[in-house]
Amino acid sequence: MSVMRFREAVRAAMIEEMERDSRVYLIGEEVGHYQGAYKVSEGMLERFGEKRVIDTPITESGFTGISIGAAMVGLRPIVEYMTWNFSAVAFDQILNNAAKLRQMSGGQLHVPIVFRAPNGSAKQVGSQHSHSMEHFYAHVPGLKVLAPATPADAKGLLKAAIRDDDPVLYMESETLYGVKGEVPEDPDFVLPMGVANVAREGTDVTIVSWSRMVHVSLEAANALEKEGISAEVIDLRSLRPLDEESLVRSVHKTHRAIVAHEGWPYGGVGAEVADRIQRLAFDDLDAPILRVTTRDVPMPYNAKLEQYVIPQAPRIVEAAKKVLYRA
């Protein structure tokens, strides 16, 4: 074990997999000479050279398409977007090519590719730069979507993504990059996709979340504890495939669930989680499932309004009390 920051764990996973497999390369804007817009790929150009750490002009659709093409005939690209917001420019490539090639070709072709970038809100970067894109992509069969919350999960899941034979979208967070945690050093430390983690055990209410919001949920759980409420926090880690079993197991124990995530309330992964729980554990539920989400507006720039719009621990606490009829 060694203690690493989230960004270092992501880097370690890429370096290990690139050393293990010469077909793996990293491509994106400012990943090489600039050392990464958020310093995730720092030092990688020196280590692997320009052939495998490739700086691109601002051409999201172009370098996504080129990488899907390269993957289709045997390479294993890691595509970095400066943030997930800019993947919108490449959405067609991801939706219509990456996600469809295996199916359209009747299984003759497949696309072993990873798309990764920081996702969700940063700090006051405004409405065009604060999207939670996991909700858009998790909608699509043919894509897998991961959203780790800790450095260890970041490393284990990114390695799994790189080794997977199909497209995997991997969500980071600018506000998580500095978070530290213990990370296994074993080069074959690979976590399974589609398995949630119980980040905190509890008995009274289940809080489901992922990525940065796991930390906010844990903060809420601590606050609830002081009021005598025992909250269980489930870190989904993988949004597609979704670990139904862990959800059902937890709700079987707590009888109440809330989902806390960034991104708007209309549709999305939170709605999906609520649907699965009510469908698979209806008899266990003692209250409707509530969602704590980004409010249903484009992200405001003003700092206080931004905090008002993004879910905070007190809103999770309030929702937990509501499902416990203690509000």
Partner: protein
């Protein structure tokens, strides 16, 4: 004072306003009074100022996230601009937009946009509307050379040429897209050649002097207004600050920066005006700008923040 000297003085004053505004914005940013991304226009002032001088007040302008200069040149009050940076409800976008999203509908400044190239087809759309309504209105769209690789640039230019839209595409080529130098952005050094494949008129020059910018852009504007034909204009320039406040700028040498600062068009105009015997007017203008910018900062500081209602229904 001759009319042309008076005009030059007025343009100099505008450039100084932008420069001093940006310097104070940088200071407020380092004091934590401004958040998010802050992309300064310092070094590129002659472009927005020269362009606006060549345009009519009801022509449309539209630009990137590096938008303070164009907004101020177009007539947005420094108060509304600074208050937006401070996230105040008195800001041009009520504190919802921030640095990257300055809008001023009254002055036909149709915004600052954060997704590289995304505003280029929109700009063509404003020209489409002018043509549709049979108005003699011109649209001018600004973007960096970094946008020239992206699909929306090509689709926007292709349609503007095909449908003969009254628009001027202005590429502010400051030689870097974040940390990527021009040589690693494009396969050609002359951005204006991109017009050739679309059968579009083109022009290319350095922004060494605000009057040059005004006069050269005037030709493209006339082509748009009289013939309803688009032009791609590449203006070579240089940004004196980092890409944004968080960029340490390690990709270029201090010598290169110093060399380029010698071509500063603001200093150039100042020297010209002094040589024309207008030293006292220059100093008076500078003094006035100091007061205007200080007032804008004070106004921004004292203005109220937007309440939750502003984020909600009425603005979405």
């Amino acid at each position: 004072m001759s009319t042309s000297d008076a005009t030059h003085l007025a343009l100099y004053r505008q450039m100084v306003l932008i420069r001093r505004f940006e310097e104070e914005a940088a200071r407020a940013y380092s004091q934590g009074k401004i958040g998010g991304f802050l992309h300064l226009y310092i070094g590129q002032e002659p472009i927005a100022v020269g362009a606006v001088a060549a345009l009519q007040p009801d022509d449309y302008v539209i630009t990137t996230y590096r938008d303070h200069g164009l907004a101020l040149a177009r007539g947005m009050t420094p108060r509304a601009a600074m208050a937006e940076l401070f996230g105040k409800v008195t800001g041009c976008s009520k504190g919802l937009g921030g640095s990257m999203h300055f809008f001023d509908a009254e002055h036909h400044m149709l915004g600052g946009y954060g997704i590289v190239g995304g505003h280029i087809p929109i700009a063509a759309g404003t020209a489409f509307a002018s043509k549709y309504r049979e108005e003699k209105r011109v649209s001018m769209c600004f973007f960096g050379e970094g946008a020239v690789s992206i699909g929306d640039f090509h689709e926007g230019l292709s349609l503007a040429a095909l449908w003969k839209l009254p628009i001027v595409f202005v590429c502010e080529n400051n030689e870097y897209a974040m940390g990527t130098p021009l040589s690693r952005e494009l396969s050609v050094e002359d951005v204006s050649t991109k017009a050739l494949g679309y059968g579009m008129a083109r022009d290319r020059f350095f922004a060494d002097h605000v009057l040059t910018v005004r006069d050269r852009l005037a030709e493209a504007i006339e082509r748009a207004r009289e013939l309803s034909e688009p032009t791609l204009v590449e203006i070579r320039t240089y940004r004196f600050r980092g890409h944004s406040m968080s960029d340490p700028g390690k990709y270029r040498t201090p010598e290169e920066l110093e060399e380029r600062k010698k071509r500063d068009a603001v200093l150039r105009s100042r020297a010209d005006l002094e040589a024309a015997g207008m030293g006292a007017d220059v100093e008076a203008a500078e003094k006035e700008i100091e007061d205007i910018v200080a007032d804008a900062v004070r106004f921004a500081e004292e203005s109220p923040e937007p309440g939750p209602g502003v984020a909600r229904s009425d603005n979405v």
